[in-house]
Symmetry: C2
DNA sequence: CTTGACGCTGACTAAACGTTCAGCCATAAT
DNA sequence: ATTATGGCTGAACGTTTAGTCAGCGTCAAG
C-alpha cells in the first residue's frame, strides 16, 4: 500500500527524514519528538513525513526495521570475522552508527516486536558463539547454555541502555567513542574472566540456587533451545 | 511553597495520586501518561493533581524522591542483614514494591538527577560490600574495585530495565515474582562464580586491554574513589 | 502539447494536552 | 452566626499535537 517493498528512491527526502527521526528518537525518545522537528531537521514539511510513512507509528516502524536490518548485516559480518561475545560487535566501531546505537538503546525498553526478535537472535547467536568457544577451549562449559547466553547478552545490552550512567561512572560513553568501550570492557572482562566469587562460595551459591529451583539443574541432554520465544518469526531472511 | 516538607496528611488523595502515577509512569512512561488518566485512576479530578504537586514535573519529582527514599530505606535494611551484591536486594521481595521497581526501571533511562545519584550510591555501596567480601574471603581481589562495582551494578540494573526481555528469554519477570529472580540469578551466579573464559584466554584478554589503555592498569595505591561523580550532592541526608 | 505520476507544500482540523480559575462543601476556630 | 482553611471540582483556557486535503511545480511518457 504505502510502503515500497525495496525502495530504490532512497536518496531523496525519505532517507533524510529517517535519519533525522533516528537521531531525534534516539536522543529525546519517540514520545518526546514531534513530527515537526523531524521534518525541520530533514528540511522538509511535516506533511511529507506522513506522506512517506503514513503516520508517526509508521515512521517508528520503519526506523525499527532499518536498525534491525543494519544490525543483522553487521552481525553476520561480525560472525564471519569472529567478533563474538560482544553482542553489537562491529556496529560500535562505525562512527555513522552512533545514532543507530542510541536509537536501539531507547527502543529496547519500549514494546517493539522487531527489537524483541532482534534480541532473541542476538541471544541465539551468542549461544552458538559460546558453544564453538567451548569446543576450541576458550569458553568454560556450562550446565545452562541458553541461560548463560541470555544473561551475557542482557548484560551487554543493559550497559548500552544505561550508557549515560556508564559514562558518568566510568568516564566514557559506550555510544560515543571506542575509549568508552574500553573503559567498560576492561572491568567487564576481568569479571567475565575469573568471576567475582571465590571458588567455595561460588559452589555453595550454585548449590543454593539448585535447591531453590524444583528441578535440580538444567540437564545437558534436554533441548537447549529457548523455552520462550517471540511469537513473531524473523521477518525478511528470504 | 507547594510541597509540604514532611507531609502528615498522606492518607488523603495525595498518596492515591502518587501511587496511581507511579504505576502508570512505570507501565507507560512519563511522556506516555496524561494527568487525566492518573487522576482517573486515583478517583480525583485532574485539577487536584496540580493542586497538590504544582505541575506534572512536580509530580514526577515527587515520585522520584519517593522511590529513591524507599530504595534507600530498603538498602540500609539490606546492608544490615547482609544481602549485599544484589543492588535492589530486599526491595524485590515486597509485593507492594512491584510498581516501584517498574517505575525505577523506566526512570533509569530518562535524565533524572535523583535517579543518577541513587545509581552512584548503589555503586558505592556495592564497592564497600565487595571490599568486605574480599576481607572475609568470599570475593576475589581486583585491580579496579570501582570499575568492578560499577560494572556489576550496571548489569544488575540493566537486567531490571530490560526485564521484559529477560522475562521473554528466561520465562519469569524480575518485577513480577521471586521465581523471576531465581530464573535470572542462577545463570548469573554461575557466570559470576567462575567466569566464562578459560584461564589462559582470560589472561591474554586482560593483557590486551591493559595494552589498549595508556596506563598499564588502575593502581591499587591510587585513590579508589569514583573518577566522575554526579554534580549534585545527595539531597536530604541532613 | 497534453497527460499523468510523483515529490512536496501551506493551510487547515480535531483532539489531547497541561494548566488556570472561580467556587463548592466540609470541618474547625472565632 | 460568622469567618477561615483546605481538599476538591467543573468548566474552561491556550498550546501543541498528529493527521487531512487541495493543489503546487517538475519531469518523463505518449
Amino acid at each position: 500500500m504505502d510502503s515500497v517493498p525495496t525502495a530504490p528512491d532512497d536518496r531523496t527526502g525519505r532517507a533524510r527524514i529517517r535519519d533525522a527521526a533516528l537521531r531525534r528518537f534516539g536522543d529525546d525518545g519517540v514520545d518526546g519528538t514531534s513530527l515537526r522537528v523531524i521534518a525541520d531537521d530533514a528540511g522538509v514539511s511535516p506533511a511529507l513525513v506522513v506522506h512517506h510513512f503514513g503516520s508517526k507509528a509508521g515512521l517508528v516502524r520503519d526506523c525499527d526495521e532499518h536498525v534491525v536490518a543494519t544490525t543483522r548485516r553487521a552481525k553476520q559480518q561480525a560472525m564471519a570475522t569472529g567478533a563474538g561475545l560482544d553482542a553489537l560487535g562491529s556496529l560500535r566501531e562505525a562512527e555513522a552508527s552512533r545514532p543507530l546505537l542510541r536509537y536501539l538503546a531507547r527502543r529496547l525498553v519500549d514494546h517493539s516486536p522487531q527489537v524483541a526478535t532482534l534480541v532473541d537472535e542476538l541471544v541465539t547467536d551468542a549461544q552458538a558463539y559460546l558453544a564453538t568457544g567451548e569446543d576450541t577451549g576458550m569458553i568454560r562449559p556450562t550446565s545452562d547454555p541458553w541461560g548463560r547466553a541470555a544473561v551475557l547478552t542482557i548484560w551487554s545490552l543493559g550497559a548500552l541502555v544505561l550508557h549515560e550512567h556508564v559514562a558518568r561512572l566510568l568516564g566514557a560513553d559506550l555510544t560515543e567513542d571506542t575509549a568508552g568501550l574500553v573503559a567498560y570492557s576492561r572491568p567487564a572482562v576481568e569479571v567475565l574472566g575469573s568471576g567475582v566469587f571465590t571458588e567455595d562460595i561460588a559452589a555453595s551459591l550454585q548449590a543454593a540456587y539448585d535447591d531453590l529451583a524444583q528441578v535440580p539443574a538444567p540437564d545437558a541432554s534436554t533441548d537447549q533451545h529457548p523455552p520462550h520465544l517471540t511469537a513473531e518469526p524473523p521477518p525478511g531472511i528470504g
